[in-house]
């Protein structure tokens, strides 16, 4: 540290220093915005209920979800079976509760994995430019030009479908190119800002600029994409189940429950409707939570909210 005499510039202090008004803590501010809007709050409650259900499935489910009871098949809702039973006499409520576990597990892990890989690819493309950019972007073009269902079938088929992790892999793989493109686009637009130039002028290394300047600004807009991705993956799993390459019976997932039930659509519509509504709530809930988080961590909304 250089020994500069302490300078105090009186007139400057007098004209520039504005007294700091009181300031609320980070968490309070986050909470105020996040819980301040009804829709975000509703979304949060839905997600919380689904997550808690999944965690405590073993405790709250009244029946074994895979135990057949052929004497009580296709029953309407009753005091014993709140949501009725399916074609094999299994309790629908218990299957929905256990299904939450499987569906969330698949949703979270597929999105999480694809987000990490996609974000790294996108950042690398934006950072290095040149041929790295060209190769990564053309690769994502190719992947995106294949209909995602065909891509998933290919992967699931090649790996002899069945296990949950293969479903996760198939679904996650399909989300990588979208993620990479979003990340790359964001990073490139962030790179245009003067503060990146300022960081270079200060003498920061490229990696440091990447980590402390570009990433923190490029990532938050993707949160909405991520949370929406969870809903998308749960629906994608339903699609795979329909083709018989999703989560295999008798393990319940919301996706394969919709597909199992569709044979009875005319006679017992509840079999498909119940898991369908569950998926819908999950997608809605996560979308709202994503919007809420994005707003709550946006520094641009500070001072006004």
């Amino acid at each position: 540290m250089a020994e500069k005499p302490k300078v105090s510039i009186g007139s400057v202090d007098a004209m520039g220093a504005t007294a700091a008004p009181p300031r609320t803590s980070e968490w309070r501010r986050f909470a105020r915005i996040f819980f301040g809007r009804k829709l975000y709050l509703i979304g949060f409650i839905i997600v919380a209920i689904i997550v808690l259900t999944a965690i405590f499935a073993q405790v709250i489910a009244p029946y074994d979800p895979i135990e057949n009871d052929l004497d009580h098949r296709l029953q309407p809702p009753s005091a014993d079976h709140w949501l009725g039973t399916d074609q094999l006499g299994r309790d629908m409520l218990s299957r929905i509760i256990y299904g939450a576990q499987i569906s969330l597990l698949i949703g979270f892990s597929a999105v999480f994995a694809s987000a990490i890989i996609g974000a790294l690819m996108g950042l690398a493309a934006a950072h290095y430019g040149g041929w790295v950019f060209t190769v990564i972007m053309r690769l994502t073009d190719v992947l995106m030009s294949l209909p995602s269902i065909i891509l998933m079938m290919l992967i699931a088929g090649m790996l002899k479908g069945g296990g949950i992790w293969i479903v996760v892999f198939a679904l996650g793989f399909g989300s990588i190119p979208g993620m990479a493109r979003m990340m790359c686009g964001q990073a490139l637009s962030v790179k245009q800002n003067d503060y990146i130039m300022a960081a270079r002028a200060v003498g920061m290394s490229n990696w440091r600029i990447m980590l402390t300047q570009i990433f923190p600004n490029a990532f938050p807009p993707l949160i909405v994409g991520l949370t929406m991705g969870i809903g998308g993956v749960v629906m994608g799993e339903a699609g795979l189940s329909f083709l018989g390459i999703g989560v295999q019976a008798p393990t319940p997932s919301w996706g394969n429950m919709v597909m199992d039930g569709q044979r009875f659509l005319m006679t017992n519509p509840l079999l498909s409707l119940i898991p369908g509504v569950a998926i819908m709530l999950l997608v809605f809930g996560f979308n709202m939570v994503g919007d809420g988080i994005r707003d709550a961590i946006d520094p641009r909304l500070r001072g006004v909210l």
Partner: protein, 328 residues
């Protein structure tokens, strides 16, 4: 009789954070063939005022909260914002030039299409006549090679040329009043000089009134005959250009003039005197004078009484201030 008489115009915005009185009792008038300057910093309500006169404020969040705009004996604020009466006036008798010509010209239409549209609409011209007139207009505003360039798209023009096209559009129907909202803020000084000289020549030739809305004191000093100075949604000083600049009476106007460097001052000759503090946040303003927190001339009365009405301090010279300041 003034050509346009704006009386006690109020435009409020209802925002999530509170009520913003963007224009709060603005009164001004424009005479035939006159160049008037409306000066103030960003957010002072100068643009909102003229957009309100044109009824171009979107509602909600905007609200016509009161006032009158008398033009040809009728109160324009009585008309529906998008009613037939307003549409007949806008673009023909009263026109506007905006700051950013790139966003105010439609990028997918040729210059011809944009110029002839108003001609066909307001003057009932047929296609051929409108094109002829459009070329003539482009020549008037100094677009070289007008007959060829009329078929180009806006992005093929430079910033200065686009602003010339905007001027051509504004004069196309022989307007009585042109509002120019920061017309030269987006261009360089030499282009600014070209454009302003052009506008001045045109309004003299066409005997049109011109209102220049700007934050640049030099521009109004050079071109305007009368000046209105705005602060926080109100007119705080008005008068002939000579007296405003030679004997400014409102502490804000004085402060503004003292804070800008003047061309030709020797380096180190004069220290600038800044206006302390920040421009006001217009949300939920107190009833007292909005300049009070930054004012160096304030007296006891200022904090107790509401914002003063305009009062006369010389020939046609008005200020909204309780304090009498002698000299400059």
């Amino acid at each position: 009789m003034a050509l346009l008489d704006v009386q006690d115009l109020k435009t409020y915005f209802h925002t999530e954070y509170g009520l913003v009185k963007a224009a709060d009792g603005v009164s001004f008038h424009i005479n035939q063939g006159e160049i008037v300057g409306l000066v103030g910093e960003s957010g002072c309500g100068k643009s909102v005022s003229i957009l309100s006169v044109m009824q171009l404020i979107t509602s909600p969040p905007g609200e016509k909260a009161g006032g009158k705009v008398i033009f040809e004996g009728k109160d324009l604020l009585k008309y529906q914002p998008n009613g037939p009466e307003m549409r007949a006036l806008r673009g023909s008798k009263i026109t506007m030039i905006f700051q950013e010509p790139m966003t105010s010209l439609n990028p997918v239409l040729t210059i011809e299409r944009q110029l002839t549209e108003t001609l066909e609409l307001h003057l009932d011209m047929d296609k051929a006549a409108a094109r002829e007139r459009a070329i003539e207009l482009l020549k008037m505003v100094g677009v070289p090679d007008a007959a060829k360039r009329i078929d180009d798209y806006p992005h093929m023009f430079s910033g200065g040329m686009r602003q010339r096209v905007m001027i051509a559009m504004a004069i196309s129907c022989n307007p009585m009043i042109i509002f120019a909202d920061e017309p030269t803020t987006a261009v360089d000084v030499t282009t600014q000089a070209q454009l302003l000289e052009l506008m001045k020549d045109l309004v003299t030739r066409l005997d049109t009134s011109l209102v220049i809305v700007t934050h640049n004191l030099g521009v109004v000093a050079r071109y305007a005959q009368r000046i209105y100075v705005m602060y926080a949604g109100r007119i705080i000083e008005s008068g002939p250009a000579e007296s405003i600049f030679a004997q400014p009476k409102h502490p804000y106007t004085i402060g503004l003039l003292n804070s800008v460097p003047k061309l030709g001052e020797r380096h180190g000759e004069r220290k600038l005197i800044p206006i302390y503090g920040l421009p006001p946040n217009l949300i939920n303003m107190p009833p007292t004078c909005a300049f009070l927190p930054r004012c160096t001339a304030k007296i006891g009365r200022c904090a107790k009484e509401p914002w003063p009405e305009l009062r006369s301090v010389g020939k046609d010279h008005y200020i909204s201030c309780y304090v009498d300041i002698k000299g400059k």
